[in-house]
Amino acid sequence: MINELIIAPVAFPLIMALITLALWKYRNIQEIVSVVGAIIYFVLCFQLLNYVLNNGIQAVHMGSWDAPFGISFVADTFSALMILVTGLMALVVIVYSISSMRRPKQLCDMEQKQFQYAYYPLLYFMFVGISGAFLTGDIFNLYVWFEVMLIASFSLLSLGGKKLQMEGTFKYVTINLISSAFFLVGVGLLYGVAGTLNMAHLAQILPTIENQNIVTLIAVLFILCFGVKAAVFPLFFWLPASYHTPPVSVSAVFAGMLTKVGVYSLIRVFTLLFTGHLEFTHTILLWIGGFTMVVGVLGAAAQYDMRRILSIHIVSQIGYMIMGLALFTPLAIAGAIFYLLHNIIVKTNLFLISGMVHRIKGTYNIRNMGGLVNSYPFVAVLFLASGLALAGLPPLSGFWSKFFVVKAAIDIKHYFIAVVALMVGLLTLFSMIKIWNEAFWKKMPNEKCDSKKDVNFLSKGNIFMIIPVVGLLAITVLIGFFPETLFTIAERAAEELLDKSQYINAVLGGSL
């Protein structure tokens, strides 16, 4: 039973991708099947978390080859949490796409109809890659899942083939290929020094290697390659160049999930494998985290495209998670995990709301917007609540995630980084207020076109855009009012990450 449950988050989207691909000629059926599939996927993901919470870390080995020889899939609390939120994102984005990918015709995200059939299969293929990356217990297998995820994301990003999109995709593809090459080099060197690729086995062997300097060197390679994927400070420039170009539902799922897979991998390898030289590697990570926060939030201040502001904010938020990892105390890691989950939900939601605004106004440029608070107070409230959650105002989820990370920093007397984190929070608020003022609060810049341009958004066709946004906001508010539930789970995940023996025992059993 448990074997199927661990494999399900990878196998099920694969089956769904093939089914939706087979249905490409029948768009209505394809949509219905996609939504039903997403609901089942979410339930499966939830079941996995439930099982892991009740029974501890679970591992399966492919083809009954015991670890470290067979490829292992491991579900600990951290993986299962990430899988759950992946399932949630799949459900939300697929439901949202029903409305956002079609009618009204003049505002359709994708003009060329022939591209539309590939959308749902590619989304599912990407979720295969993401789930695989979260669940695998083998470092080379992680590379393979990254590539599965990347090739699907390349295609999704270029789907539609507009000029801007092609340029964005071009940059995204190039940088990601280079980072994959570094990943491969890192894996190769790791095999060269340790003679194994199973992460649990590596965790056992790496501390016993005589020449610890080469292990540190490999650690730096991993910072580099996962740093590109997670969009940390000196390596993030591909992100604001590409994330604002595709259809908004694609932007939303990228913003929510893809960089977070990089963060997940960083947390995984820097808690499980590279802990021998903490004062070196984690100091680098702390500096990276600080700079990422500051540069991201300052970069957003210059932008006036709603999606570009939100894209650059992804970078800034990543900084907090890296900071949590770098502080390396149980509270800090739990805070980073909490932050990760909160950020996936809120960031995706903000992108989905920007899609609503685009549907109403026909533009993402906030200079040309205005008056939305009068015409669509409902959308205004949705944005304000999500924006404040991102900035970290109590009682929304962002407050708690920032609180845990900052408290962890103060506890171990890293006052400087705590001050930086708080200042960045303030500047985030500034950016959100900027969007609020420009798009919602101020009057329409040109009075004449005010009533003419607004599309009747609350019509029947857009209902599927509203449901997921309201749902995600409800989750944000719930986490805000009842943070203990999620935080207890995050604390448990952090405890498992810091105590490697649990992971190693679950994978290798008593065999080694």
């Binding site: 295609s155 071009f170 940059k171 080099v185 604001p240 006036y304």
Partner: protein, 117 residues
């Protein structure tokens, strides 16, 4: 043999970086291809080079009697080659599309998605 391969890998990495820093998008692709070759060779070399000793157990024996080539790096390289091939094929098609939509083969012309409005 290791020294020779190490020099070759270094040369490949160097020329890959050089090619990728050129402005032509075709040269960028060539750079990416060099990069993936360099990585594959690196994995292959780092797994240890053993000549003429296939990892096959002889008839009647139950294990290896002397040193044999490690099959795992070869399997890794094979996987990496296949993945690299797929990704590079996609990238070449993408470059063609970029060239058609943007109308330029110069990376300096690809600035539209970075412009602040």
């Amino acid at each position: 043999m290791e020294t020779l391969l190490a020099i070759l890998i270094g040369g490949l990495f160097g020329s890959a970086v050089y090619m990728m820093l050129r402005r032509s998008i075709i040269k960028l692709i060539i750079g990416l291809i060099f990069l993936s070759h360099a990585c594959n060779l690196l994995i292959f070399t780092i797994g240890g080079l053993v000549r003429g000793k296939a990892p096959i157990i002889d008839e009647g024996q139950t294990g290896f009697s002397n040193m044999v080539a490690d099959p795992l790096p070869q399997a890794l390289v094979l996987t990496a080659i296949v993945i690299g091939f797929g990704v590079i094929a996609f990238t070449i098609v993408l470059i063609e599309q970029v060239y058609q939509t943007v109308g330029a083969g110069d990376t300096d012309e690809l600035k539209a998605s970075d412009k602040t409005i």
